[in-house]
């Protein structure tokens, strides 16, 4: 819809204006101007160093994402299909999810040392819980009338699972993946901040150390745009799976 796109651009313009105002208020040392940030971001993207870092982050993010999704769905399916196990695990999962993951950072570092595996571990502990929880709820909340319909249609358990239960649970599972993937990226970046010598998180740490505020803002801007795009894409896929239902 045309007006929707216009509204979005209007909002962006407004946010940029707000940014500019705050910049005038606090000065370049605290908050660089939007223009300076965008220019710096363009400069960075043109360098090879940036892409080496981006590559490292992307690889770790990819692995952490795949593990989180596969593991989260597997756990969620198992707990969702087995009523008793699900009932027992539900509050435990909820509590684990609500624990601030920062409390686990020292432990992860002690277990995995510094390096890629720690990064990936960070990504996984952030991403796996929401995916497992959403998947479990998606399976448990499939409308009971669908179960009965499957039986009246005399479907085999496998047939019912693939043709009815899976598409019915899919939108909710995709919502969980959307949340989990975003948090997984966050986890990987945090891991790079604390435990790595490569990646965009590490680049941020370096910028923080030498107080290159414009670099901090530029890298953050690139990450934010990336995250927003991934998020929008996953939201779109989720919407299609719902078919307005």
């Amino acid at each position: 819809m045309k007006s929707r796109r216009f509204d979005f651009l209007l909002l962006l313009a407004g946010l940029l204006l707000l940014w500019q105002l705050v910049h005038w208020l606090v000065g370049s040392d605290v908050l660089p101007s939007p223009w300076a940030t965008i220019r710096r971001a363009a400069e960075l993207i043109a360098t090879r160093g940036f892409w080496e870092h981006a590559d490292a982050t992307a690889t770790a993010f990819g692995v952490a994402g795949v593990i989180s999704i596969a593991g989260g769905i597997a756990i969620g399916l198992w707990l969702g299909l087995r009523r008793f196990a699900g009932d027992v695990a539900d509050p435990i999962l909820g509590t684990l999810y609500s624990i601030p993951k920062i409390t686990l950072y020292p432990i992860i570092l002690l277990i995995f040392g510094l390096g890629v595996s720690a990064k990936i571990a960070f990504g996984v502990i952030h991403g796996i819980f929401p995916i497992a929880i959403f998947t479990m709820n998606a399976v448990r909340n499939v409308a009971p009338v669908y179960h009965r319909t499957a039986r009246v249609l005399r479907l085999s358990p496998l047939g019912a699972a693939t043709t009815i239960m899976a598409p019915a649970a899919l939108p909710e599972i995709l919502a969980g993946i959307r949340v989990g993937v975003a948090l997984s990226l966050l986890g990987v970046l945090i891991g790079e901040l604390f435990a790595s010598t490569s990646g965009l998180g590490f680049a941020l740490l370096r910028a923080m150390d030498v107080h290159a505020v414009t670099d901090i803002m530029a890298i953050t801007l690139v990450l934010f745009v990336f995250a927003a795009c991934v998020n929008a894409l996953l939201r779109f896929v989720e919407g299609r799976a719902r078919h307005g239902g």
Binding site: V145, V152, R242, G245
Partner: protein
């Protein structure tokens, strides 16, 4: 007592008790019930809320195993599996939100591995029959509640069931739509020749549509009366003008009123 299956579906001494779990007591939902549903008849069950009507339907469909007694379909015992030839439309919306109307209706046929052209022919016929022809590509989310129920009915009819079970299918609809849907149901019943078992709480609907109406007591549900209406097969909703309609409805309410009060927990008012 030997189970002599007179009806297409026969129940002898059937009772259903749901076992208690995790501190909740057991629930005696249904029975004992004796029932013979004749081939090709339109049989309705009315009763107060929570009396076990839906449980009865689940037993008839083969969705629930009975705690005691025998249940048979066409001479064979119902043993926890839904037999071939039974179709059911439930109270809740069972349309699949991820499929459009056409794919919803075709669902059962495709699962049986039918040829695509035959599927298409049958689906188009069913859509026309149910007045959904213009909505073939629409998704359930875009349809009203009544239309979604029609999709579920079409999906069931297209499989040509011998017995059609309907659990308060018109519950969410307004009165005028209900009356029209009642006419639809009669037409379906006549043209397919199926046996129809209908669960409803609307007395006038029961009196108008059925060959026989069974009145169920409050929980645990048992039959306290079975009324034969004697209507001709060619009836429609205008039967309400027949003099006997009032008498039948009055008789149903007479039996049902006490049970409804009992179900509500109110003292008996004579």
């Amino acid at each position: 007592m030997a189970a002599s299956p007179d009806g297409q579906i026969s129940l002898r001494g059937v009772a259903k008790v749901f076992p208690g779990h995790d501190g909740h007591p057991e629930v005696h939902a249904l029975g004992p019930i004796d029932l013979d549903i004749m081939r090709g008849e339109l049989f309705t069950v009315v009763g107060p809320s929570g009396c076990g009507k839906s449980t009865l339907l689940d037993v008839l469909a083969g969705l629930l195993t009975v705690t005691s007694g025998h249940a048979t379909f066409e001479g064979k015992a119902l043993a926890g599996q839904v037999p071939d030839g039974i179709g059911a439309v439930f109270q809740q919306d069972a349309s699949f939100f991820w499929l459009n109307v056409c794919d919803n209706v075709a669902f059962g046929l495709r699962r049986r591995g039918m040829a695509a052209r035959e599927v298409e022919r049958r689906v188009n016929a069913a859509l026309a029959f149910m007045g959904l022809a213009g909505f073939a590509k629409a998704f359930p989310a875009q349809l009203s509640g009544g239309m979604r129920q029609r999709v579920c009915i079409a999906r069931t009819l297209v499989l040509e069931p011998k017995v059609l079970l309907l659990d308060e299918p018109f519950g969410a609809l307004d009165q005028q739509t209900r009356l029209l849907m009642g006419d639809e149901l009669l037409r379906i019943w006549r043209e397919t020749g199926a046996t129809v078992v209908l669960i409803t709480h609307a007395l006038d609907e029961a009196a108008m549509l059925s060959d026989r109406v069974a009145v169920m007591s409050a929980r645990p549900g048992r039959f306290i009366d079975i009324v034969t209406t004697g209507w001709p097969r060619t009836r429609d909703s205008r039967i309400v003008s027949d003099a006997r309609f009032g008498a039948i409805t009055a008789r149903l309410w007479d039996k049902l009123r006490e049970e409804s009060l009992r179900a509500m927990g109110a003292p008996q008012i004579t």
